[in-house]
C-alpha cells in the first residue's frame, strides 16, 4: 500500500509536503517528487464532537520525515493514541490511516 506524495530536497534532504516550488528549509529549487511508503506515527489527536457523531483528526508523522493532517479509521476515535503506529490507506476519496 502506498502513501501520500511529498517532495525531497536535492540539496538539504528535507522532506516537504504539501508541494512547493522552493525548499522551505534551504531555499533550493531542486525538489523531486516522491511517494511515501505510508508508515507513520500519530503526533497528536483530537476527537471532534459533531451532531453526526464523533470523529478524530490527527497529525501523522510519516517515516520519511514530513507531517500531515488525517483521520485514523477502523477504531473508536477516543482510542487513538499519540505515538501509535499507523499505515496509510485510501477510503476512495482521501488518504486515511489504520492502526498497525
Amino acid at each position: 500500500m502506498t502513501g501520500p506524495d511529498y517532495q525531497r530536497c536535492g540539496d538539504c534532504g528535507a522532506a516537504i509536503a504539501p508541494r512547493r516550488v522552493t525548499c522551505p528549509v534551504c531555499g533550493s529549487r531542486r525538489l523531486s517528487g516522491q511517494t511515501s511508503a505510508g508508515r507513520g506515527t500519530v503526533y497528536s489527536t483530537t476527537t471532534v464532537h459533531a451532531r453526526e457523531g464523533a470523529r478524530n483528526v490527527v497529525l501523522v508523522d510519516l517515516d520519511e520525515g514530513f507531517r500531515m493532517m488525517s483521520e485514523v479509521v477502523g477504531m473508536a476515535s477516543d482510542d487513538v493514541r499519540i505515538g501509535m503506529h499507523v499505515q496509510a490507506g485510501d477510503d476512495g476519496e482521501r488518504i486515511v490511516f489504520h492502526a498497525c
Binding site: 509536503a17 504539501p18 503526533y43 497528536s44 489527536t45 483530537t46 476527537t47 471532534v48 464532537h49 459533531a50 470523529r55 483528526v57 497529525l59 507531517r67 500531515m68 493532517m69 488525517s70 483521520e71 477516543d78 499519540i82 505515538g83 476519496e93 482521501r94
Partner: protein, 385 residues
C-alpha cells in the same frame, strides 16, 4: 538602526471600547469602530483630524483601513492593514511606533470591531480553505488548539484540571469587571463537565463569541506628555510567525512567541520578573499555558503547574488577563485590541476592583491563526520608562 531606538519613542494617549456583548441585528462593525474611535480620541483629547496614521485588520472588509478611513473621515498619510489574525493589533503597535519614529505619521489610530455574535455566532472569517485539511473536517480553529493541548498533555503531563484552571481564573477576574460578558461562578468541575467540542477542550475551554470594538491612539511620547491622559509608554515590541497550517508547525508545544517575546523584552530592556500585569490572548485555555512558557514566565512544560491553585487568578502569583480575557470578558472574533486597552487601564490605575496595585509594567501578547502569528508588546508608565 538598532530596534531599541524605538524604546520609549511612542506612547498610548487614549483608549476606548465600543458597546460590547450583544448589540443586536442591524449594527455594523463600522458603527462599533466609530464608537470606539470617538471614545479613544476623546480620551486622548484629540480629534479625528489629528489622525494621520490608520491601522486596522478585519474579517469583514477587504480593504479595511480604506473602509474605516471613509467611515471616520480620516485621510491618513500612513495606512497599515497588516493582518496577523488576532495578533494584528499588538503588531500594529510596533508598526505605529516605527512609522511615528520615521516621521511617516504623528498620530496613529489602531481600531477594530466585529458584530460576530449578532451575525449569528459563527466565526466570521476570511480564512481560506486549506485543501490539505478540508477532507478531515477539523473544526477551525478549536481543533488546531486541541491538537496542541493533547500534545502538551502527552509530553509534559499537563492535565485537564490545569487547562480548566485558566478558565476558572479568567472567570474570577471577570467577576471583578463590571461589563464582563460572563460573570457567573465557574469551577474546575463545571469546565470539565461542560460539552466536549474537540477533545481535550470543552466549550468552557473556548473563548466567547461576542460583539464589540476597541481603539487605541498612539503618538510620540513627547506629544503624549502634553495631552489629557498620563502617557502609557511602549517600551518594547516584537512579532514573529513560523507557519500557517497546524501541520506545518514544527513543534505543537512551542510557539513563535519565543521569538516575539524575546524581541520585545530585548527592546524594552526588562525581563519577565519585571512585569506586573500580563494580558495574553486566551482563545483557548491551552494558549496562556503555552505563552507563559514561551515568554519566559516559567520553563517549557511547566505551564500547567504554573497556573494551578489559582496562581493566575486574583490574589495569585501573577496577574493574568485581569478583565477576564477572551474566555469571560469579551471576544468579538479577534481579541488583540482589548488586551492593549486593559493593559493601559491597569497602568493608569483605573481598573477598579481588579486593579493590580502599583502596576508599572504590562505585557500584552496577541496570537493569530492556528498558533501561527505572535506579537508581544511591553508597556510601562512614564515612571517605568
Amino acid at each position: 538602526m538598532p530596534a531599541d531606538r524605538l524604546r520609549g519613542a511612542v506612547a498610548v494617549a487614549g483608549v476606548a471600547e465600543s458597546r460590547l456583548g450583544e448589540v443586536g441585528p442591524g449594527v455594523t462593525p463600522l458603527e462599533l469602530i466609530g464608537e470606539a474611535a470617538a471614545g479613544a480620541l476623546e480620551d486622548a483629547g484629540l480629534s479625528k483630524n489629528d489622525v494621520d496614521g490608520l491601522f486596522t485588520a478585519s474579517a469583514y472588509y477587504g480593504l479595511p483601513t480604506v473602509n474605516v478611513g471613509e467611515e471616520l473621515g480620516i485621510r491618513p498619510r500612513y495606512s497599515d492593514s497588516t493582518n496577523l489574525g488576532g495578533a494584528s493589533f499588538v503588531s500594529h503597535l510596533l508598526h505605529a511606533a516605527a512609522a511615528i519614529h520615521a516621521g511617516l505619521c504623528e498620530v496613529a489610530l489602531i481600531v477594530y470591531a466585529s458584530t460576530q455574535r449578532s451575525d449569528g455566532g459563527k466565526l466570521k472569517s476570511v480564512v481560506e480553505v486549506n485543501p490539505q485539511e478540508a477532507p478531515y473536517r477539523p473544526r477551525y480553529p478549536v481543533s488546531m488548539f486541541a491538537l496542541a493541548a493533547a500534545r502538551h498533555m502527552h509530553e509534559f503531563g499537563t492535565t485537564r484540571d490545569q487547562l480548566a484552571e485558566v478558565a476558572v481564573a479568567a472567570r474570577a477576574w471577570a467577576r471583578l469587571t463590571p461589563n464582563a460578558f460572563e460573570r457567573g461562578p465557574l469551577t474546575i468541575a463545571d469546565v470539565l463537565a461542560s460539552r466536549m467540542v474537540s477533545s481535550p477542550l470543552t466549550v468552557r475551554d473556548c473563548c466567547l463569541v461576542t460583539d464589540g470594538g476597541g481603539a487605541v491612539v498612539v503618538t510620540s511620547t513627547q506629544r503624549a506628555r502634553s495631552l489629557r491622559r498620563a502617557p502609557v509608554v511602549l517600551l518594547g515590541a516584537g512579532e514573529a510567525h513560523w507557519h500557517r497550517a497546524i501541520a506545518q508547525m514544527p513543534d505543537l508545544t512551542t510557539t513563535a512567541a519565543v521569538d516575539s517575546g524575546a524581541r520585545a523584552f530585548a527592546m524594552a530592556g526588562v525581563g519577565p520578573a519585571d512585569v506586573d500585569v500580563v494580558q495574553l490572548y486566551d482563545a483557548f485555555t491551552i494558549n496562556p499555558i503555552l505563552f507563559l512558557e514561551d515568554l519566559g514566565f516559567c520553563a517549557k512544560g511547566d505551564g500547567g503547574p504554573f497556573v494551578a491553585g489559582g496562581a493566575i487568578a486574583p490574589g495569585g502569583r501573577l496577574a493574568v488577563n485581569t478583565n477576564g480575557g477572551g474566555l469571560s470578558y469579551t471576544h468579538p472574533g479577534m481579541l488583540g485590541i482589548f488586551l492593549i486597552v486593559e493593559a493601559v487601564r491597569q497602568l493608569r490605575g483605573e481598573a477598579g476592583e481588579r486593579q493590580r496595585p502599583g502596576a508599572e509594567i504590562a505585557l500584552v501578547h496577541g496570537n493569530g491563526g492556528a498558533l501561527s502569528a505572535q506579537a508581544t508588546a511591553i508597556l510601562g508608565t512614564l515612571a517605568a520608562s
